[in-house]
């Protein structure tokens, strides 16, 4: 019997949209090196510039701001490296401020920078995982070079007041970066209105290909390449153009922009249907993250006395795919640092499950989860120590 599968891990990655698959397939034929002057080269270059425009339109910036990278991790590393260079060259602004709940591609960078002796501060977040502007202010000063705050959190979905933080950063003369990877296609993202100097995003989180992303850089913001070499991307990122993936992320960007409102409404409706359903059917549950400022498709729930990995694997047996903040799934003894930093008790962090919706999910999916989940939690709780 073919097992029903319900994919509720869209914050981890999304499948490519059918239009993207088709566009990538067609673009694979454009094998010319986009840096070449001949016809094949120009053909590829034109496709890339079309994609650049689509990305610029999606995040509301000038096409010349768009730098194609291998993904948000590279984009984030590039930004931190720019300021590392400035600090090494003796800039008086020698401090970087970020938050305690950033994605590992920032969080691990922070550890790396600290080990090397750089001064990086992690602004704490409130009990909903949100940055308090008054607290952020206390971390800012004339010695700050860069402020980096993610737009929406990958685990709990909490949306940060990026625009307000950018204003505070600029008031002290610092540059502002936001990792908008999880926000794209779910909430409006605008480099102009947020007034951020750098913005990272990744194609595979919004139905584009994996291994392709963007770093958007405002014209006046400092820049130094992370990858040195050829003159691609206006000298901002060396390496032969990945034409097919760039075309793919462009198509995904156009779709994300066009479908934003409808998509956002749909994701929130599914998320709320699941949240209410869980509340009605399962006693003693805790919903994590900020419920007012939340990415529409993200629901993070803790089930006391049921451990996350066990829940995940029992759900997987029913064809339901989710993720957990439990230590057991991380390979360490510590559960998710995002949950702990957001004030979730350690016992609750071990029993956390993240459901993240995407465009292919339906109300039937939620109904199926609401049928399968309650007996799993009941069973694990009966088996658990009290």
């Amino acid at each position: 019997m073919e097992q029903k599968t319900i994919y509720l891990d869209n914050n981890a990655t999304t499948p490519m949209h059918e239009d993207v698959i088709e566009a990538v397939h067609e673009a694979n034929i454009l094998f010319g090196n986009a840096s070449s002057m001949h016809s094949y080269g120009r053909e590829a270059a034109m496709a890339i510039e079309e994609s650049r425009k689509a990305l610029a339109s999606l995040i509301d910036c000038d096409p010349s701001s768009i730098v194609f990278t291998s993904g948000a991790s590279e984009s984030n590393n590039t930004v931190f490296n720019i300021f590392r260079e400035r600090i090494d060259l003796g800039s008086k602004r020698n401090r970087i401020v970020t938050t305690s709940i950033e994605h590992p591609s920032i969080n691990e960078l922070v550890k790396y920078f600290k080990n090397l002796g750089y001064h990086v501060d992690e602004c704490p977040v409130d009990g909903s995982g949100r940055v308090d502007l008054e607290v952020m202010k206390t971390y800012l000063g004339e010695d700050v070079a860069l402020v980096s705050v993610m737009a929406g959190n990958n685990e709990i979905g909490t949306i940060q007041p990026v625009k307000e933080i950018a204003k505070l950063a600029h008031e002290v003369g610092a540059y502002m970066h936001t990792d908008a990877t999880q926000a794209i296609g779910k909430i409006p993202v605008s480099m102009q209105s947020w007034d951020v100097d750098y913005l990272s995003l990744s194609g595979h989180k919004f139905y584009g290909p994996k291994g392709i992303g963007v770093l958007a850089v405002k014209a006046k913001a400092p820049y130094t390449p992370l990858v040195h070499g050829g003159h691609q991307e206006g000298g901002k990122r060396a390496g032969t153009y990945n034409t097919a993936s760039i075309v793919g992320i462009g198509v995904a960007a156009s779709l994300a922009e066009r479908n934003l409102e409808e998509e956002s409404r749909k994701l929130w409706a599914l998320r709320e249907m699941l949240r209410k359903g869980i509340d009605e059917r399962i006693p003693n549950v805790v919903v994590n993250g900020n419920q007012e400022h939340c990415l529409p498709g993200t629901l993070d729930v803790s089930f006391p006395h049921a451990e996350g990995e066990s829940i995940l694997l029992y759900l997987d047996m029913e064809g339901i795919m989710v993720s957990t903040g439990s230590a057991c799934a991380s390979g360490s003894l510590e559960p998710s640092y995002v949950l702990l930093a957001s004030g979730v008790a350690i016992e609750l962090a071990h029993g956390s499950i993240r459901f993240s919706f995407g465009r292919y999910n339906t109300e039937d999916d939620v109904a199926y989860v609401l049928e399968k989940l309650p007996p799993i939690i009941k069973r694990l709780r009966e088996m658990s120590t009290r």
């Binding site: 439990s326 057991c328 120590t385």
Partner: protein, 202 residues
């Protein structure tokens, strides 16, 4: 079609014990235990309780409760099958390695944090012997010398950690003087100390 079996992160035996755990405690059963042992904590992500019935120094029946991941549940379930029918002596000597082997192996990082069933079983036997007012001769029989120079055993370290007498590694050294001569055992003692702290959540 996706083959879920081939993608399962654990062995088929682990999966079977996880999906169909044996000898779990059921409220309506009204199990009358002669000894109860508990190790781990909810904060650590693993907690186990083992209840045993003993007759003629043999474990005649056993029930358990576990809060934890799939390997914690499966290893406690496997332990329960192995321990029923065993003499107290043999049960006391049941090791994590024996349980893991019977499960067909566990991922490396799962071994230390989740195989606690043997420790909960020992705790239940200790409890039984204490309630019966009998000497616990097993405790020392399973002891392994960790610090050769000062003759410090793992059981000694375990007891000191469990009773909260050694709250830090320094305190443990003050009491036992481990590692003060050749120092070769320091890493092993430190690892054990961390493990027992995790197990007894102190």
């Amino acid at each position: 079609m996706t083959n879920f079996m081939s993608q399962w992160v654990y062995t088929p035996v682990v999966k079977d014990h996880f999906m169909n755990p044996r000898n779990t405690w059921q409220e309506e059963e009204n199990f009358q235990a002669d000894g109860i042992g508990e190790v781990g904590s909810l904060a650590c992500g693993d907690q186990m309780q083992v209840m045993i019935k003993v007759d003629n120094d043999t474990i005649t029946d056993l029930r358990w409760l576990t809060y934890g991941c799939a390997s914690a549940i499966a290893s406690t379930s496997m332990m329960s099958e192995m321990a029923i029918g065993m003499s107290l002596q043999d049960a006391y000597n049941l090791s994590p390695d024996m349980i893991t082997e019977a499960l067909g192996g566990l991922p490396e990082h799962k071994f230390h944090c989740s195989v606690l069933g043997d420790k909960a079983l020992r705790a239940a036997i200790d409890d039984y012997l204490e309630k019966a007012g009998r000497d616990n001769s097993f405790k020392n029989s399973v002891a392994k010398t960790i610090c050769e120079c000062k003759g410090v055993t793992d059981v000694q370290i375990e007891d000191l950690v469990k009773r909260g007498e050694a709250k830090t590694l320094d305190q443990l050294q003050e009491i036992t003087e481990f590692g003060t001569v050749c120092g070769k055992c320091k890493q092993e003692v430190s690892d054990l100390f961390d493990e027992f702290k995790h197990i007894y959540s102190v």
